[in-house]
């Protein structure tokens, strides 16, 4: 009964001129999203830029199981030591929730793509 999660990949250029990979999420982010989200992240190969943005602009619903998947991705990035992840497009409510659980300590939260790219 859980809605599906879609993840699409694209690239952009940061304000400093470096390439940035963007994983754009849409639909619901819940326990059912694990394969879609972690699969998309793990599919990023060596040619993918070291800086990755998660785009939540088109996400309708996030629960704590979905937040845990984001934490798992951050953990993988941290273990690899070669990739930085930041987040944009969260609603004000979920910016608050992500801050409550401390995700902002490990991934910067930005309001939109332009702000995220400007920070990199």
């Amino acid at each position: 009964m859980q809605a599906t999660t879609k993840v699409t990949q694209r690239t952009a250029t940061s304000a400093s001129g470096s390439a940035v990979g963007i994983l754009a999420l849409s639909g619901d982010i819940s326990s059912a999203s694990k394969d879609a989200i972690l699969g998309a992240y793990q599919a990023l190969d060596g040619t993918t830029p070291a800086k990755v943005l998660l785009d939540f602009t088109s996400v309708d619903y996030i629960n704590s199981s979905g937040i845990a998947i984001v934490i798992q991705m951050l953990l993988e990035a941290s273990k690899s030591g070669s990739r930085t992840i930041a987040i944009f497009g969260l609603s004000p409510h979920f910016q608050k929730v992500f801050t409550m659980v401390g995700i902002n300590k490990y991934a910067a939260l930005h309001g939109n793509e332009a702000a995220a790219l400007a920070s990199l």
Partner: protein, 145 residues
Amino acid sequence: MKNGSSVYVHIPSELGFEKVAMSTASSMATLMGFSPDRIEDLKTAVAEACINAIEHGNQLNSSLSVGVVLSTNDDQLEVKVIDDGAGIAAAPAAPDIDRKMHGEEDPRGMGMFLIQALVDEAEWHQGPPGKSFVRLVIKLNKESQ
């Protein structure tokens, strides 16, 4: 809306149906005049309470349902989420992002923390099957916070 109005919803013990309870709570809170940001807080708290009831209380048993009772009382909205589990004896420790990021703590386990953080009152009651529940309250007079 008349004081003391109640709405009862029963959802299957299947993940995803928490959104039905969430939508109902949102509609009730809108009718009572809660602000959009407080309604978002309530929606997340109700969804997390239902997910806990579905996963832990009813163990994803499709023959069991989760009861959700929404009641208006003075200037507050009370939500009870009832399941057939034994209930929760004590709230778990607050999540520690540093421990999670070091693989020392399960990345999950944030639901009860979010519930407590997002509503004005949250209480867990233990009981026999069908009687364990969590009670959430949001208050209109806390709108300015």
